[in-house]
């Protein structure tokens, strides 16, 4: 562990507010938070949280930095994002290990998350030459009309523990290419990965004589988070977290007419049709439900399976669950690590009690694994008689609910019945079933897949969901437009002054 921390410049006590290589801000009034290894319950290192004073110092440089950054040609900004991607490549190994150490996901997933950061940097380099606006034919003679996309400002990025680095990169790399600076508040559960990233970003900024482009303010939601969402110097807040918190963020930002990108709760289902390849479905469901210990926004939480194959599929999945090796996530061969906090374990156990009260039958799992540590649980499958209240709720843990259906209309109705709308999938070899699922009357989610699972999105597509998932889009496709302001321009190159709609005002 010591070697990983040293490589990433993590000290025993770290400062949680920074706006550049020589701009770490420490306030003696700042309280310390201790980053705990969820596997062992042991402290890893401490971070002195940002205070109102240090938050202001960071914001000042982020706003000032924007003035310089927005004037740099976008392709040149892209080259700096390229350097960030290269620096992440060089640090992939220790950074991936730190993700595992601090958050508890298995090593392959930790490294995969860093790869996602590298991928989005690669994407942003190309994007920096493709910030296209449309040109429109004016209805007025001798006029030219077009639109251009301008940088927006300093962007607030608030991320959650489960993807402690990738979600920052989705936002920061795209925002940087777009000419925005970012102020990042990471989860208080994973402050060290943020410190490590800041050191890497600082080196890139130093190489180019920059500051204030990539910034962090680590602190409580009730302090730093509230400051950010109420701060009109941050025209956009990109928030990843729960629906409940998203509502609070949305209301606060809307009150000041700011913008939000909200990535909130998911309650993702896989429909398995009677003609599905069950082996493929089983493997996908296992990864989707057990990966990251069920703590992904896109984790598979519900299986809606056709009655005719329910028995066979259930048996296959239960058998696969029994093979899952739970343990230290850094060890080769471990498939599931601990939950992030003791509170998360409590939340899972309480949800299981409710599921049983509502008629659920636990097919496997359901217990804590005290011999491994306080935050280890068994991956759990609960067969539900119907889609009860608890199934409508997202429990951030490895609980998978089984339900059955008779026809595809019923399956889609069950699928769409929950308030969340992030990710979805159908397993079928029938073209009509697949197309129906993807149609207007099919899945109501932002992500809908055929014969692949709900989790493990690529960076090239726009990521996000509908309904209580918040409607935001991040990462690929044209999600960049959320980080810029559109300006419609009309230029009169004639010597006349015609009005639109043929209006005559003064002859």
């Amino acid at each position: 562990m010591k070697e990983i921390l040293e490589k990433l410049q993590i000290k025993d006590v770290n400062v949680g507010a920074c706006a550049g290589p020589d701009d770490w801000y420490e306030d003696p009034a700042g309280e310390e938070i201790v980053s705990i290894n969820p596997t062992t319950g042991e402290p890893i290192a401490k971070v002195i949280q940002a205070t109102e004073k240090t938050y202001e110092q960071v914001l000042h440089l982020a706003v000032e930095g924007f003035k310089t950054w927005r004037m740099m040609p976008a392709p040149k900004r892209g080259l700096i994002v390229r350097d960030l991607g290269e620096a992440l490549r060089e640090n992939k190994e220790p950074l991936g290990d730190l993700v595992t150490l601090e958050m508890g996901k298995i090593r392959a997933e930790g490294h995969g998350e860093v790869q996602e950061m590298i991928d989005i940097c690669d994407f942003a380099i190309g994007l920096s030459r493709q910030l296209y606006g449309l040109s429109m034919h004016s209805e007025r003679p001798g006029h030219r009309m077009y639109e251009q996309w301008h940088p927006l400002g300093a962007i607030g990025v608030i991320t959650a523990f489960n993807f402690p680095v990738a979600v920052w990169a989705w936002n920061a790399a795209i925002a940087a290419a777009c000419g925005d600076t970012t102020v990042w508040k990471p989860s208080s559960e994973t402050p060290l990965t943020a410190i490590a990233i800041q050191h890497i970003a600082n080196q890139v900024m130093a190489d180019h004589g920059l500051k204030g482009i990539f910034n962090i303010t680590i602190g409580r939601g009730a302090v730093v988070g509230e400051h950010m969402i109420n701060d009109s110097r941050l025209p956009l807040i990109s928030f990843t977290g729960s629906t409940r918190m998203g509502r609070r963020v949305s209301e606060a930002v809307a009150r000041r007419f700011g913008r939000t990108i909200l990535e909130l709760g998911g309650n993702n289902a896989v429909i398995v049709a009677e003609d599905a390849d069950l082996e493929m479905a089983m493997r996908t469901i296992l990864f989707g439900a057990v990966g990251t210990a069920g703590q992904r926004c896109t984790s598979t939480r519900r299986i809606i399976m056709h009655k005719s194959i329910a028995s066979e599929l259930s048996e296959r999945i239960v058998n696969a669950y029994k093979q899952v090796t739970t343990g230290d996530p850094i060890e080769e061969g471990t498939l599931m690590g601990p939950l992030v906090t003791k509170g998360a374990v409590e939340d899972m156990l309480a949800a299981l009690e409710k599921a049983k009260e509502q008629g659920g039958e636990v097919l496997c799992g359901g217990n804590r694994l005290f011999d491994l540590g306080e935050q280890f649980v068994e991956p759990t499958i609960v067969k539900m008689p119907k889609q009860t209240e608890i199934v409508h709720i997202e429990t951030f843990a490895p609980i998978l609910y089984f339900m059955e259906y008779e026809d595809i209309e019923e399956a889609i109705q069950l699928h769409n019945e929950v308030p969340q709308g992030l990710s979805s999938a159908v397993f079928t070899t029938n073209l009509l079933t697949a197309e129906k699922f993807l149609s207007h009357e099919g899945s109501d989610c932002g992500i809908a897949n055929v014969n692949i699972g709900t989790s493990g999105a690529e960076i090239g597509g726009a990521f996000g969901g509908e309904k209580e998932t918040g409607g935001g889009r991040e990462s690929g496709s044209d999600a960049w437009k959320g980080y810029m302001r559109r300006q419609t321009n009309t230029i009169n190159w004639s010597k006349e002054l015609p009005l639109a709609q043929g209006i005559k005002f003064v002859d």
Partner: protein
């Protein structure tokens, strides 16, 4: 019995200091962590938002549970 928890305690502190509170409250239909993260408010604010009729009673029961 010394009360450990008050209505003013931030949820972020509550789940850190008394993680067993999470299960206690969830069983009463009060969810103080969502998506694995604590809410940014005090216990009192949460109970008010959830329209809990007698918040102090919940706090008293919670303290009893924690002792």
């Amino acid at each position: 019995m010394e009360p450990k928890v008050t209505l003013d305690i931030p949820i972020e502190d509550l789940v850190l200091k008394f993680p067993e509170s999470v299960g206690f409250l969830t069983r009463k239909g009060i969810r103080c962590i969502r998506c694995g993260e604590p809410l940014w408010c005090t216990l009192g604010e949460l109970l008010e938002e959830d329209n809990i009729p007698d918040p102090q009673n919940i706090v008293d029961e919670l303290n009893e549970f924690l002792c």
